[in-house]
Structure formats: structure tokens, C-alpha cells
Symmetry: C3
Subunit: 320 residues, 3 copies
């Protein structure tokens, strides 16, 4: 570890930028200023979440240095964003104030770095990125295991329950809709407040205007699909049905495919499909007390990206 | 879409054949006449199922045209069969008479076409076909999500429940056995009537006599395994334990491996294994309200086909 | 089959060694003497378990001969160890005294041989071994399906239940700790007795002293992690939380990576992660009545091994 520590000492600015780029990469933006705005959003949701997020991204980046990961990946923030999400998720699900949560959050960020390394190799034959899969795998395992450990679990009874038929009122008012459109962006970092989502959205626009617009399209499609199918308005308002649609729209509409009409249509279809998958995933996880996290986004985007070589009308961007 | 629409206008006969081949490919037959017989069977089970099945196959084929999929695949009906099954499954599980079901069925067929494209790429390194995996993925997501959407779900309470120990009488009479042998073929399309299964079987024989015989072998092995292990007779009679065995037997005994004694033995082993897996899958899906669909067939056949290069006694057919 | 039978007749000693190596390969040791000690351990736990284990390994090896599998794999015992575990697991979960259990155990060993063939092909692009994945797939399917078959299930009600928050006392006494350290080794073969675990450990030391030491390290890390996080002492004592850690430590610390400080640290991290994953897997399987088996070991080791090419500080051993 001494090597990476000395690097941090000599080049604190560069390391700081890599950590912020790590925070920004949660929304696929390789941009330190965007990451700074994201950090502000996390602090606005709660100062502890801000600390967890930055610490998680820093640990992920440090482990990557220690294990000698390719410099280009580390520089782009690709080794930090899963650690960032893991730490924030542990704070949200286990309570941010416990020492046990801090230890597990940082340990989880270390494990997420290893999982990232595994997925980089595993997905190479198809030239696919890891997305937030290392986060989802690590955080799913930890949150499902947590109620089985008495020094970890402080939340009363476990969360496992058989899924029920939805009973809440599905009619969306203007207030609900407005909240939903921004909360969809905030829930990517597990934050339900609409103003936090607004700050995140500002960060995306700062990094890439086109991505900001597709994020808005995704949020509208997700909310619209949820409304049309009759999801409970209370859930829609908190952004629980639309955050995967936002991520899918950014990924397919702006980041991984050549921009244009066909990729936008493709992104809209993916965003709608991911909204259905969000409810399916929530039911799937319910009996054993798991969380939906960004699984629907990952699965939808993986499928839609892997399909691209079969569809000559669509073209992947860059080296994909 | 204009291109594909014009194609449909100029070459309606060719397009119709591709749709029928799509229906036939559910049982791995690239034969339009067989597809026509299958369509008759669906109409015999209920006129709405026939419409859903044809519409689903047509949508899948049209999307493939629109996205520029390889013509040979479309021509063989390989782009239609998952859409066909998706539409039929939605009609069965959500009720055929609702407008919402129609919209979701056709939307699901579009998504299944994208999933097909993904799996074609994903399975290329091992030269594997997609089987009904796009159908199973799309229909599983939709049926698990459905109770969470009030404008989609009209069936009362959700289906999720903890699996129980079997209590029904396991002794099979002649009537049960006769029903089971044909219903096993019908349940591939989610239809429990024995006479519907009989029409499907006629379709298979029409396309390929050898496949028809292996289908019968699979039906016997599935029913026999279920009886020997003590499954409830009421379930066996409805074909719920044997439809995967029929598909596995066709796939391993007739379609993907060089025909002969070894591949027949291999098909029998696979059919028996898939019968056990059918019960396991049903228990797996119970707590979150999922359906078994043709998952056991897919998993068994994938494993048995992927194993072939390790076993010099077996040889794959054609370009596999 | 006649060919393989004649081979067994002419070369019974060689075949016996291959079967024993099959038993030893459960702990990744290609050593017939180690397998003999393992067999003694199984007989010490119950004479029927010894018979099941040897018969399962023999069936797996025979099927491999019959299907013409690569001789080198068979000779190293790589075709026997999953059959061995499948047979022992069926005896443990379905009761060793029933004829149905014997038939299913041997049939399961045949299916596990096919699954092994599939995974050899499937994992070839990443040069990965199969681990106990064929065992876990086959035994999971069978044990989840078992309560649905009346001639198979003699254990009263099914095992499915929603996971609960842990309530047992988490404080470990000396007696608990001592039991846990050895039982962790025994639970790899599903045996909870500490003295059985001790015999297994002797077998590992006999084959490879370094592997024996890393097994001890894994057992200490697993027990320590479970204690630190607050798992119920009764479960820790029976070895239920540490057996995956033992396997992970052997795999990463001794077998698949170049031995040294970095691989040892990596093994310790993997062992700790697998302990958390053990509890997560137990919760995951609870609602549909599945067993944890060695899934956590497989998943952890797969991820940690696949990650190696991303981490220049680590190097894989031999042809990996």
C-alpha cells in the first residue's frame, strides 16, 4: 500500500480529481466538476452520506492503485464509482451512525474493487463496461446478510415478506409528477428528496448537455410508464419507479450508442422496459429481504447493448 | 418502419410464411405448414389465443426487419417465435380480453425481439441458439411485475406463496396417463387441453417425423419420471410436469445432435432431469409469484448442448 | 458402457485411485491417499455416508469414461468429486436409508457428470475450473424439487420459510471456537462433527502442507468474521459459517494463485467476504427451501480468480 499512499501524498490534486470522477461515473460522466456537484447533492441529503460517498470512492481508487490496475481506468474514475455507491448504500440501509456500518462500508468498497476487476475480465469478450454491477452484487449480498448478524443489524425485524398486489392510488397529481421527475435522478444515489435530484441533474448538464437531456427524457418515460400501468402514486413520487429509466436513457441515448433518432427510440424503449423490470425486481427481492438497487438498469442496458451488433441500424460509440 | 411496411405490402405471402415459421419455431420446426397447424391448435384452445399468437409472431418479425436483422434468421422464423409465446403468455396470465393486455403483449413482443438480438450475440462464442430464453426473460419480468400495476392486474390477489410439500394422490390411472401424454405437448404453448396437444403433435409430425417420435419419447419419459417420483396426478394429467421433457427430447434427440442411439439416450436423460427441474423451478418462482414457463427446458438443453464438445461420443448437427 | 466396464475389470487399482482422487478433489487435492483419509472421515460420520461418497465418485468417473472425456481430467479425479458430493448431499437431505435416495443419488451423479462437461466448455474462454458448481446446480435442483415428489420426500413439511433476524447469542466460548475451527472443515462434506473435520484436515495436510495451513487460516478468518459481525454462536459452532472460508482460502491461498504474501492477503479478504455471502445465500435460499451448499465458495472464488488478470500484483499458477 506504501506506493499508493506516497502517490496520494505527492499528487493530492490528481487523486482528488480521480475520486470526484469516481463519484461522477455513477451517472457515467468522467468529469471531476460534475462529481463535485454530485458530492454537494449528497451532503445536501445528509452530511454523513457525503462523507460515505467520498470515502467509498477514495477506497475504491486506492485499492485499484494498490493492486496495480490499469492507470487509464483509474484516471477516468472507473474504479471509484462502485465503492462510492456501496458506501452510500450501507449508510442508507444499516444506519450511517454506527461504527460497524463504517467498517463494513469501507470493507465493502474493497470487495467491490475486486468484483470490478472480475467483471472487467469477464465482460471483455463482448467489450462491455461493468456498469454498477459490482455495487449491486456487493450491496445485495451485504444487505441480504445483514439481519443475520447482530452487531450489524440495528433496524428491528428483517425486511423479508411475500410481495402483495399494489393497492395505493395510481392517479398522479402535478405535485407528484414534479417530485417524481427530479426524485428519479436522486434515487440513483438512493436519495428520495426532489431538490437533491435537481442538484444531481445540474451536475449531469454541467458535464454533458446531451446526457442531461436524455436523463430528462428517461425521467419522463419512467414516470409516464409507471402512471400508464397504474403504479401507486406514493412510490412514483419518491422516484422509486423511474431512477432506472433515467440511467438507461443516459446509457443508451448518450453514452454508449452513436447519438441520433434510432438510438433515442431505442433508449425510450429501454427506459419503459426498465420501469416494468423495476417492479419485477422489487417483487423478486422481497421474500429474502433484498433491495432493487440499480439491478433493473444494469440488466436492461446489458441486454440492449449486447443486442446492438445484431441490429445494423444502431451503432455503438467509441471502442464498444 | 416504412421499409418493412412496404415489404409486407409487396410480399405478403413471404411475410405470412415467415410468421407461420415463427409459430412453428416454438417447437424448433422451420416449417410454415407446421406453423399453420400450430395456429389451428391455438384457435382450438380459444380464438383469442390464436390471434395473440399470430400477432406476437408478426410483431417479432416486423421489429427484426425494422432493426435490420440478418435475413436468414428472419426467414427461418427465428425472430418470431419468442414474440408468439410472449403474446400468448400475456393473454393467459393477464386475461385475453383487456386492452392493457393487448398493448403489453405487443410491447412485450418488441422487447423480446431486442432480447433475442442480445442473446444471439451473447451465445455466439459457444454457437448456441437462443431457445425460448427471450420469451422466458420477458414474460417472467412482466408476470412478476404485473400485480404491482393496477391497470394491468385484474386477477385479484397476487400469486406469491411459500412452496408446500405435495399432498395430491400420485397414482396415475389410464385416463390421467392418456391426457398427460398429449397435454405435455400442449403446455409448451401454455394450453392444458389434451386435444390441443394432439393437434400440436400432428404439426410436429408433419414437419419432421423423427422429431414427432422424439416428442412422444419425451412425453413418455416426462410422465414416467413424474409418476415414479410421486408427483400429484392432477398436475401430471394437465401436462404441467412433462412439457419441458418434450422440448428437451426434440432438441437433443432430433434437432441439435446427430441422430443415433447415443443422442437418444442423452435425450432421455435430459428429459428426466428436466422433469425434476420443472418442480424445482416451480418452487423457486413461488415466493415472488413467477411462472415456470419453459425455463427448465432452456436450462437443461443449454447444459446438455454445451457439454457436447466434452463428450466425443456425441456430435452436434450442422453448424453447431 | 462395455468399454469402461472392461477397463475397470482390467485395471481395478488405477480405477480405485481415480475414485479416491475424486473424493480428494472436493478440497482441490489430486491425491489418492488424501482421498482415502477423506473416505475414512465420511465413514466416521456414518457408514452410509462413506458408501454414498465412494459410489458417487465412482459413478461420475464411469460416466466420464463412457462419454469419452479427456483421460487427463479423469485421471486427476476431476470427474468424480461432484458426483461424490451429490451422493453425500442426497443422503443427508433425503435420508440415507431409502431406496429412492440411492436411485436419485446415483442418477444425480450421472447428471452432475454432464453438467461438469458443460461447465468445462463454458468456462474455457476464461481458463477457469468448474469448482463444485456441478454439485451445487444438481443438488440445489434436486433438494428444492424433493418436497414436490411424494416417493422422494420423507421428512415431513417442506423447508421453505421467510428469513428472520438472527436472535441467538453471538458470544463465542472456547469450546464453541474449538468446535467451529474443525467443523468448518467437516461441513465442506456437509458433516457437522468436529472430529470428522479433524480427519479431513489431516487428509489435506497429507496431500499438501501449505494447503493445510491455508485451510487453517481460512477457518480462523471465517470464524473470526462470523464472531465480529455477531452471528449466532450455535451456528458458528457447527461450522455453518466457516466452511466456505476454508475452501476459498485453499483455492486462493494455495491452489490457483502463485503462493506469497499478496495471494495470502487476497485469500483472507476472500474468506471474509465468503462468510458474509454464506449468510446472504442462506437467506436467499430460505423462501423456496434451498440449501446454501458451497455456493458462497464458488461465487467468491470465481469472482476473485476472474479478477486476477486485472491485478498485476497477483499471478495465477500453472496453466490458469
Amino acid at each position: 500500500m506504501s506506493y499508493s499512499v506516497s502517490l496520494v501524498r505527492r499528487q493530492p490534486f490528481r487523486f482528488g480529481c480521480e475520486v470526484l470522477r469516481g463519484v461522477a461515473q455513477v451517472d457515467m460522466m468522467a468529469n471531476a466538476r460534475c462529481g463535485a456537484v454530485f458530492a454537494v447533492a449528497l451532503f445536501a441529503a445528509g452530511w454523513q452520506y457525503g462523507l460515505y460517498g467520498l470515502a467509498g470512492a477514495a477506497v475504491g481508487t486506492l485499492v485499484a492503485y494498490a493492486l496495480g490496475v490499469d492507470r487509464e481506468r483509474v484516471g477516468a474514475g472507473l474504479e471509484g464509482f462502485n465503492g462510492c455507491l456501496v458506501a452510500v448504500a450501507f449508510a442508507v440501509f444499516l444506519g450511517p451512525g454506527h461504527l460497524a456500518t463504517w467498517i463494513l462500508a469501507l470493507g465493502g468498497a474493497v470487495v467491490a474493487a475486486v468484483v470490478t476487476g472480475a467483471l472487467v475480465t469477464l465482460l471483455k469478450p463482448w467489450s462491455l463496461p461493468t456498469f454498477t454491477l459490482p455495487f449491486c452484487l456487493t450491496a445485495s449480498a451485504m444487505t441480504v446478510a445483514a439481519p443475520g448478524f447482530q452487531r450489524v443489524w440495528h433496524e428491528g425485524s428483517a425486511l423479508s415478506a411475500l410481495p402483495r398486489t399494489a393497492h395505493g392510488d395510481p392517479s398522479l397529481g402535478w405535485s407528484d409528477t414534479g417530485h417524481a421527475l427530479f426524485s428519479n435522478v436522486g434515487q440513483i444515489f438512493l436519495m428520495p428528496q426532489w431538490y437533491v435530484g435537481l442538484i444531481f441533474l445540474v451536475g449531469i448538464f454541467l458535464a454533458d448537455r446531451h446526457a442531461g437531456l436524455t436523463a430528462c427524457v428517461g425521467s419522463v418515460v419512467g414516470t409516464g410508464t409507471a402512471w400508464a400501468l397504474g403504479a401507486p402514486a406514493a412510490d412514483v413520487r419518491e422516484g422509486l419507479l423511474g431512477y432506472n429509466a433515467v440511467l438507461v436513457a443516459i446509457a443508451l441515448g448518450s453514452v454508449f450508442l452513436a447519438r441520433g433518432v434510432w438510438s433515442l427510440l431505442y433508449a425510450v424503449l429501454g427506459a419503459a422496459a426498465s420501469t416494468v423490470l423495476t417492479v419485477a425486481a422489487t417483487s423478486f427481492f422481497a421474500p429474502f429481504g433484498g433491495h432493487t438497487l440499480t439491478w433493473p438498469y444494469i440488466l436492461t442496458t446489458l441486454v440492449f447493448l449486447v443486442a446492438v451488433p445484431s441490429f445494423p441500424r444502431l451503432q455503438s460509440r467509441a471502442g464498444l
